[in-house]
Symmetry: C2
Subunit: 454 residues, 2 copies
């Protein structure tokens, strides 16, 4: 797609704009009025109706109290659709927004696995990462090439059970077994709420969580700095902040995709970069992440960790991830090759993601503007080499601040039966909350509606 | 199948005996003579020919030297079939023997997963283990009920990325975060070679490997005793050996299935029991294990660990495991209900496994008897409630001892280009080696042939 002519983009934009208009109209009809009939109509159009949107526990259990409330909440469709006072859970980053896209791709993304497959632990015995399915490796390289978000030349690919396992594998690989003091692991606040708990849960002698990278004072000891860009929770692009040698950088690029942020040239070219399908294609449940690693020894040790931790990574999910990435890349290449707007059957995932994020952010900013209770970050516009647009970040999470006298923003929303995650879990103030922007339409729209009513 | 009448079993045995006779004839033709034409013929009949049998690195890297040798070994079919002097790798426990069975089940074990599935992290939000696919939970309960190897009533099921991740989850769940000294983890030697490395790889402050349970002297501190039964590597049934209170037992029952050992009544009824599809159905590459856990708090903490470690377990592989277990259980129930021998299309996995293990052990014992170089353990016969036979264990690994002056048994075999795992990795003498009995036919038969020639 990066190589498409302006004409291609004009034609594609026309279609996309028309689709967006339709989506926007539905959004407006729904959140504009309060007629139950209209609500029902628009929700039926938008809902994917899997029946468990509202009843999911917190992924990293930041709000244990919320879990029990959720477990007892009604799951019936009626309850969901009438939507007066039901719990809206936007605490965790479940990317169910993408389900609708994949429902529209027909059989092309379907995978068929016969019973005789996967009796061996091994996928590619000659490869450094012996449990990486070769086809997944190929599709990862291809997708990065098309999107232009990372250099893959001269990199080893290590696959993991989500990028969480890869994060742990990186720590194992970077921290020598014979250290006297654990290596410090830091990230600038606000940082991903799982970093501290995942790092410290086993009280490892190899590494320990040392908090905010901006105020890190670890003497001259070794350290690992996590650079999450765009950042979870606040959505800003980031560079390293610790200003001394002796550290290793790990770039967590889960959200470095063109639906969330502009792809600026050149492609990222770091020593260790982590990616995941959860936030790129939206398949959180298949638990597939990958690392691009420059140093062979680091890649080998990461592989060793995953061997010790789970003897490799599900082959089924690797094959599925490969298939899904292939469908994504095929659509991009077909579009740019033929010069025609992509057929409905070969839509661009990134266009779908971009339009949805743009519209969701527009609705959120509109609702926030209506009241003086909240504020949102502003993101500077940048030109994207991939989609040829100039736009500011439209992150997968909203980092919302409660203004004025509201000190406990999470508590404020909980009273309104909106579950968010407090800033304190991210090393920041309770005046902030993180709100998922990737939930299914009906849940997200119900949130906007309730926000408007505050 | 446990409920089948004697007639049923007589009829089934007739078919099974005839199948076994055919297999046995092929085995004999192959290992009896050295005519290249015959070798080619019988290997072609037996080989599943996936092309990477001989070139797989060691799962827990007990023999790093071996890996580089393997990587450079030829993978061509010709090389494999002529089989003069090629490397035979039986170091790791890759259960590829089962591939042939699953190739015979046709479409019934095939799974189709559309692209829109698995956008959510959650499988069953109301369940303690929120990432367990409900259908997998049902099939686990059903299979244990049919086989009679474990009580599932009053148990929580926790699914893991293989039983390795569950083992780590158990340690996390059993060892309090605030311990001063790490809890001791012990198992009677010879013990599974991964226990020490997996336990100690992060130098956790919660637990540490404390070696052989038989000589454990941990004062009065808390401990976890791993009871692996049948045991890896030596195949014996086991009971706990630490004779004091203050410990928690974890039963690793990866091999407690009727192809390896008799199901004696009553079904196992322990606090924490680990299982895996790798060694039951033979699907090592899908990385699915499960724990049956009596105490809700322990199950909850295990779930928490897997959340911190990998935010759940691949949904695709869970659904596949459920489908595979369903096919296994359906075949057993059809057989016992109809009173007819199972159709070729609905063979019993456990019969297939039993006959193969029986034949492989017969060939191994015959070859060992021919020379005075080696010895093997003897296993007492027990009556099996499941298959109504009386038989001694026929383990997934042979625990072979080099007699006389051979002190380094692994080295002895390595010179003959047979890769095994030394007893030292299992906390035992280098006079022992562990040899996988679950490899594909051609690899196993090549091993027997070479053993005969020593």
């Amino acid at each position: 797609m990066g190589g498409g002519s302006l004409n291609v983009f004009s034609a594609r934009h026309l279609l996309v704009a028309s689709l967006a208009l339709n989506a926007s109209l539905l959004f407006r009809v729904y959140i504009g009025g309060f007629s139950p009939a209209l609500d029902l109509l628009s929700l039926c159009s938008l809902s994917v109706s899997k029946g468990y949107e509202a009843a999911a526990p917190d992924v990293d259990a930041a709000s244990p109290a919320a879990v029990s409330v959720l477990a007892s909440s009604s799951k019936t469709a009626e309850h969901r659709l009438v939507d007066h006072g039901r719990i809206i859970n936007l605490d965790h980053g479940d990317p169910t927004m993408y389900e609708k896209f994949w429902q529209g791709t027909g059989d092309r993304a379907t995978i068929v696995i016969p019973g005789w497959q996967s009796t061996s632990y091994f996928s590619d015995p000659g490869n450094l990462c012996w449990f990486l399915e070769p086809e997944l490796g190929r599709q990862i390289v291809r997708l990065h090439g098309i999107v232009g978000n990372a250099v893959t030349d001269g990199r080893h690919i290590v696959v993991g059970t989500g990028s969480t396992q890869l994060f742990l594998a990186v720590l194992y690989a970077l921290c020598p077994q014979n250290v006297t003091d654990p290596v410090s692991v830091v990230s600038m606040a606000p940082f991903y709420s799982s970093y501290p708990t995942t790092t410290d849960c086993l009280r490892s002698g190899l590494y320990r969580w040392a908090g905010d990278a901006a105020s890190f004072d670890g003497g001259d000891g070794p350290f690992v700095e996590l650079v999450t860009s765009p950042n979870n929770p606040d959505g800003f692009l980031r560079d390293p902040v610790v200003n001394r040698s002796g550290g290793v950088l790990v770039h967590d690029f889960a959200y470095y995709w063109p639906q969330y942020t502009a792809m600026t040239s050149p492609p990222a070219n770091h020593d260790i970069t982590l990616f995941t399908v959860s936030k790129s294609t939206g398949h959180a449940g298949i638990r597939i992440g990958w690392a691009l690693v420059k140093d062979a020894d680091v890649a080998r040790k990461m592989t060793k960790f995953i061997e010790l931790n789970s003897i490799g990574v599900s082959k089924d999910s690797q094959l599925r991830a490969a298939k899904i990435m292939k469908v994504v890349s095929d659509a991009e290449e077909d579009g740019s090759k033929q010069g025609d707007p992509p057929a409905v059957a070969a839509r661009s995932l990134f266009e779908f993601g971009f339009e949805n994020m743009e519209e969701r952010w527009r609705l959120l900013r509109e609702a926030v503007k209506q009241s003086s209770l909240f504020s949102l970050p502003d993101y500077p516009a940048q030109f994207c080499n991939f989609n040829r647009r100039s736009f500011g970040n439209q992150p997968a999470f909203a980092w919302l601040k409660c203004e004025g006298e509201i000190e406990d923003c999470e508590g404020f929303f909980r009273e309104k039966k909106i579950l968010t995650r407090s800033g304190v879990h991210f090393g920041d103030s309770p005046k902030y909350v993180r709100i998922s922007m990737l939930d299914r339409d009906d849940n997200y729209l119900a949130f906007i509606k309730r926000l408007r009513s505050l």
